[in-house]
């Protein structure tokens, strides 16, 4: 009889809260392929606590696959991913659910639930994890998250009634609602006009400062990367080809790096 075995969600959450690590994400020797197409080959990356790392690369280079591996949406063949000290590939579904409370994901397509209002979209993760929270507290958290992105007035609107930029902001509010320690951004400014894209980029920085989150930002929008990233990783041929600050890489003589900055 394993009496001390962590079986309930609340026990696992408590355990998760106790374990802190200076390294928010550690990716070592990651390999991922789809059939004969090897997307990631021996990819390595470290994200420190509070750090914001942008991963840039061509379309189809495996950037989105990388963060989906980090959150456990896609299984990988080789390598190790540690998120907040937990080995992602060794977690069972309940442990993965607990980890996902601390790790938020902003989808490229926003992925707002069409059949729910903005309020219900934001309440959805709350009602599942904070089951004993009172309605007033849930309302307050929803309003706080929406106020952070400047959209408190849209609370009872449907996602279809919002513009592209507003949908992105609501999706960002939904990622913030559980007060995550890590946020994974998948192309946060794709499909937005330059002004809205800049606003979203600054919003990401504000959130980063306010909540002290660590993040991986997948993008090929260099102005977004310049505003948001502490460190830039260039993904070429499945490997981290170059790594450094935005300004350092922009001065590089390497042709492959220069191509990105033209």
């Amino acid at each position: 009889m394993e009496s001390d075995k962590k079986t309930t969600l609340s026990e696992l959450v408590n355990e998760n809260n106790v374990q802190r690590n200076d390294l928010a994400i550690s990716i070592k020797h990651l390999h991922k392929s789809f059939g004969n197409n090897q997307v990631l080959k021996d990819f390595n990356l470290e994200v420190k606590s509070g750090e914001s790392v942008a991963v840039i690369g061509k379309s189809g280079s495996g950037k989105s696959v990388l963060i989906k591996c980090v959150i456990g949406l896609i299984k990988f063949e080789q390598g190790q991913i540690h998120v907040l000290g937990k080995n992602v590939s060794k977690l069972n579904s309940m442990e993965l659910d607990v980890l996902r409370i601390k790790v938020a994901f902003l989808f490229q397509s926003n992925a707002l639930y069409d059949s729910m209002t903005v309020r219900e979209n934001l309440e959805f993760p709350l009602r599942r994890h904070l089951t004993e929270t009172k309605k007033e507290e849930v309302d307050a958290l929803v309003i706080e998250a929406l106020t952070n992105v400047g959209l408190a007035h849209t609370i009872d609107m449907m996602p279809s009634e919002l513009s592209g930029g507003m949908r992105k902001r609501v999706a960002l509010a939904r990622t913030l609602i559980m007060k995550p320690e890590i946020i994974l951004y998948d192309e946060p400014t794709t499909g937005l006009d330059p002004i809205t894209a800049k606003e979203i980029s600054h919003l990401i920085v504000e959130i980063q400062k306010k909540y002290n989150t660590s993040s991986i930002i997948i993008s090929h929008d260099l102005s977004c990367v310049k505003i948001t990233a502490d460190k830039v990783v260039m993904l070429i041929n499945g490997k981290n080809y170059a790594e450094g600050k935005f300004e350092e890489l922009s001065k590089s003589d390497d042709d492959k790096i220069k191509n990105f900055y033209i």
């Binding site: 989906k68 959150i71 949406l73 579904s93 659910d97 607990v98 996902r100 409370i101 790790v103 938020a104 994901f105 989808f107 490229q108 397509s109 992925a111 707002l112 639930y113 069409d114 059949s115 959805f124 993760p125 599942r128 994890h129 559980m178």
Partner: protein
């Protein structure tokens, strides 16, 4: 060497079977999504009421009008309520109702889940710590499994009423005489097996509709294809289940 078509057929059959089994596996484990289950029951049951009622009424009316000349030819016009009630309750109402549900509910589920899949809403549910299979699939399959039989009971009643009106278009049959003949003819052996098989109809419609939607790929084009495939496959499945049910009823001599 197994032809590709045969391989794909058995591959899909295996996947649907596993999907159907997973409904029970995930369904018995907490947490139970009661709120979503009730919402789905409302959509499957209440939102299909009008369509099922209308088609059931027309079915009853048409079957009665079409059968009358043949019975008149053999001097068996009095048997019209008996014949109509047996054919409606045993076979026509359950199968037609199931086919309507396959078209309306099955395609709707497939398109909804397919759209959620291609817009990453299912992934979003997953990363928010919600089991999307439990929330989306278990609730919908539960709703079809329990709402289709209720719709069939309603369709039985309304189609029999349509049959009464049909009897009175060319002849005169009193309300009491009509229902007396119906009750005399129908036994539990007619009603119960036909209701029991509709649970399987509902289960098949839900599983196939959700399966096709849940595994949609190739963007919006894939959503349309999934909805179409869900209707075709679940309609065929209704007939296959009906065939098996008829054989079992016959072997067990239930009628």
């Amino acid at each position: 060497m197994v032809p590709k078509v045969v391989y794909e057929f058995f591959d899909e059959l295996g996947m649907i079977s596993y999907f159907g089994w997973r409904f029970f596996k995930e369904g018995i484990k907490p947490r139970y999504e009661f709120r979503e289950m009730i919402r789905q029951c409302y959509y499957v049951g209440y939102k299909s009421l009008g369509l099922v009622a209308l088609t059931a009424f027309i079915m009853g009316l048409v079957i009665t009008i079409q059968s009358r000349p043949t019975l008149v030819e053999f001097g068996a016009e009095d048997w019209l309520p008996k014949m109509v009630s047996v054919s409606l309750v045993r076979e026509i109402a359950p199968v037609i109702t199931a086919l309507i549900c396959a078209g309306k509910v099955g395609s709707g589920m497939s398109a909804e889940l397919g759209a959620m899949k291609v817009t990453e809403q299912i992934d979003a549910m997953d990363v928010s710590g919600t089991n999307p299979f439990k929330y989306l699939v278990v609730t919908r399959v539960f709703a079809t499994t329990f709402m289709v039989p209720l719709l069939v009971i309603l369709a039985d009643a309304i189609s029999l009423y349509g049959g009464y009106l049909g009897c009175n278009i060319r002849g005169v049959v009193s309300w009491q005489l009509y229902w007396n003949q119906v009750y005399e003819t129908l036994s539990y052996g007619d009603v119960l097996p036909s209701i029991i098989k509709t649970f399987f109809f509902g289960y098949a419609i839900g599983v196939i509709g959700c399966f096709k939607g849940y595994y949609t790929d190739k963007g919006t084009e894939g959503v349309g294809k999934s909805a179409n495939a869900a209707v075709v496959l679940s309609s065929v499945m209704v007939f296959i289940i009906d065939l098996i049910a008829v054989q079992i009823i016959d072997i067990l001599n239930l009628t």
